[in-house]
Amino acid sequence: MTTATLHDVRFIEPEKTRNYINHDFGVLSWLLTRDHKRIAILYLFSVTIMFMLGGFFATMMRIELLTPEGDVLTSDTYNKFFTLHGVVMVFFFLIPVIPAVLGNFILPIMLGAKDLAFPRINLLSWYVYMAAAVIGLYVIIVGGVDTGWTFYTPFSTQYSNTHVFGTTFAGFLAGFSSILTGLNFMVTIHRMRAPGLTWYRLPLFVWAMYATSIVQLLATPVLAITLVMLMFERAFGVGIFDPALGGDPVLYQHMFWFYSHPAVYIMILPAMGVASEVVAAFTRKKIFGYKFVAFSSLAIAFLGFLVWAHHLFVAGISVYSALIFAFLSYFVAVPSAIKVFNWTATLYKASVSWQTPMLYIMGFIGLFTIGGVTGLFLAALGLDVHVTDTYFVVAHFHYVMVGGVVMAYLAGIHYWWPKITGRMYPEWWARLAALLVFVGFNLTFLPQFVLGYLGMPRRYHAYAPEFQVLNVMSSAGASILAVGYALPLVYLIWSLKGSRKAGPNPWGAAGLEWATSSPPPKENFHETPVVTWDAYDYPQFLKAMGETQNV
């Protein structure tokens, strides 16, 4: 058995067919498309622009924090920038990025389907996202918002004189885009699997997306309700959260985190799915403990709904309620630990390739582990009292959101880039970028753990002079990180023309997406594939490929 057979294609002869890119031409053929692959490209453009916008706000914050005094931006501008950084990154980048870009493109192909179950709803989800983004951009242009991305009451309802209504409406709308994607994926996974593709043969990315869809469908409506209540209180003085009107401001925090904690899993579960795919492909091996990894996704989705009040340990809940939520928070750490150990164990007696996607995923496992274990610190009640609302929390969730989600996204975009575009990315530059991202990220956020334990509160425009050295380190790291993020933008665009053609299966990976041409045809496969192999079962996959080749 040689690699040559690994690169063979079963279901298509690439030269004879048009692909999804050159099948139709013109702007309208993109804006009105119902092809999941083209919608993924639309999302790719949108989220990339939003990432750059969110990155701009972060850059300005890191420049401001070079000195203890608030001297570059005014306090109000700084407050608006960290708010907009959070709003843009959470609602317009992290939540949609992996499902709407990588999931949209690859999930139907992984299932052997021609498209998602509801192609028009898929397009609608992009338009809803764009409407929300346009309202968000309008808010930024007319003056921004300064409540923090969490919109805590009564500040957001009674005291802020910025554009709270517009921003919360944008968040409300963006939620529907997320619900539509989740609905589409869930139905597609249930109804449109290829013959022979049983649940236990599904790639782990599909399991992860399925778990994500559950959270999107069940949690996002609660955000919508909460934001509507907030808008009503702000616009019409309906007393829900304002104590002067008989409301309770802590109720808002319960409702907000009932969505926003599970939202963390909307972001990280797809990232874990990418990690499983990349580890399997670059070790040419079944993921160790496939069923444990698959069900840990569902366990995370389920347990994620039971831990929201761990954001409220000093906010005004009873000690007994805190006790229960702390206890449950440790439960949700177990399935995450299972995944990390299983990925690591997969490397044993594997055939490990050190190509860029694998480098990113090795970084992902390390950074996600740090993000995860620092979450254990925050769940330790008496310790949380000291570190909550400090830079320790900022560092913790950036390790999960950026070290976890963004690293996995970059791994995924490199891994599937040949499939999406038909071209390879330049390996040397990509490895350099992966290294810069890893080093820059750690230099940015490791000092913030120390700052947090020293007591520097988050969302501070100016700070005590003894915190300066660590802040300068953090800003220096951020500049390296910025270069690391800018590089892929340049070389990936360059690769569209300048790089060599990929071929259907450049990695020699097992999976349906590697059994069609790169880029795939409009309908993904010319004939419906029949699956005879378990996920990542290389010998069986090769046998299936080989049989048709010989016919």
């Binding site: 330790a380 988050r458 079962d537």
Partner: protein, 314 residues
């Protein structure tokens, strides 16, 4: 650069600080150790089993069940140690010692105001004696703030809706940061101050520095100003309940509920009197919402607390 200009560990200045730090160090060792082991394993395995011409395809091996069980059960047991230790500390922080000194705090955009029972008022500075538990009862005038003492390893959100109490026992004389830890608007990062921990003798001297009457006596003046005395006459003829000896007692309400007359009950009864009407009385008291600010509420509270039942020992 002096090392003191660049600290890597926060000052330890309260009775719980050592314990919080011990838990933190324990978690750093356990979590850091496991993380480091994972990194080393990933790198070692990825190097040892790197792709070579003779291992283009990996060996397929099913995992032994005990291994999965091991790394589910072992972390869980370690997590439970963290949980119990953290919970024990949290309960310690929640239980205010009986002999604690009372201080009242008001958070408002963007300053901290502290009031002492002896009448001293201070802004963005808090004087406390060393080695004596101090209980801070606090509320916010506007948005949510959070009173944070990094050197004491404690903080608590300050709400506009009700009183909350936190406590600490400072163990080292000195001057330590006070921060607002909950984002509260434009000058959030300027809502800072200092807590001055003093020797008991110095503290007594500071207390002796001429206040304008105790907090309770200032409250008594307000009690007359707002004409509370018209109904709360202090005897059975009044249209309002007797307040003498009320604080801390069980009160039976018109709807037969029984509540404890604590700080929040008294606060609510001033701001929203109709919410909990005492059995045998009519809901005739007007609301003082918007008329009495948080500072004055604290004075009225101190006055009501000071009213002992007739014949009771002070």
């Amino acid at each position: 650069m002096m090392l003191s200009d660049f600290p890597l560990w926060p000052e330890q200045a309260s009775s719980v600080a050592g314990n919080v730090d011990a838990l933190f160090i324990f978690m750093c060792i356990v979590c850091g150790g496991v993380s480091l082991l994972t990194f080393i394993l990933i790198f070692a395995l990825a190097i040892k089993y790197r792709r070579r011409p003779d291992n283009e395809l990996a060996e397929e091996k099913e995992p032994p069940g005990w291994l999965e069980a091991g790394w589910i059960i072992t972390p869980f047991i370690i997590f439970m140690v963290m949980f119990v230790w953290g919970a024990w500390l949290y309960f310690r922080l929640a239980r205010v010692p009986d002999d604690a000194l009372d201080v009242y705090a008001t958070g408002k955009q963007w300053m901290w105001k502290f009031q002492h029972p002896t009448g001293q008022r201070e802004i963005n500075t808090l004087h406390v004696p060393v080695n004596r538990p101090v209980k801070i009862t606090m509320a916010s005038e506007d948005v949510i703030h959070s009173l944070f003492f990094p050197a004491f390893r404690t903080k608590m959100d300050v709400l506009p809706s009700r009183y909350r109490s936190m406590w600490f026992r400072a163990t080292k004389v000195g001057r330590y940061h006070i921060f607002c830890a909950e984002y509260c608007g434009t000058l959030h990062s300027g809502m800072i101050g200092w807590v001055e921990v003093m020797e008991p003798t110095d503290y007594q001297k500071w207390l002796a520095g001429g206040p304008e009457g105790s907090l309770a006596s200032q409250g008594e003046i307000l009690f007359q100003k707002y004409a509370c005395l018209t109904c709360h006459t202090g005897d059975a003829t009044g249209r309002g309940p007797v307040l003498q000896g009320l604080y801390g007692r069980q009160v039976e309400l018109a709807d037969n509920r029984v509540v404890t007359a604590d700080d929040n009950y008294i606060r609510e009864s001033i701001l929203n009197p109709a919410a909990k009407v005492v059995k045998g009385f009519q809901p005739i008291m007007p609301t003082f919402q918007g008329q009495v600010n948080e500072d004055d509420l604290i004075k009225l509270l101190a006055y009501v607390k000071s009213l002992q039942a007739k014949g009771a020992k002070p």
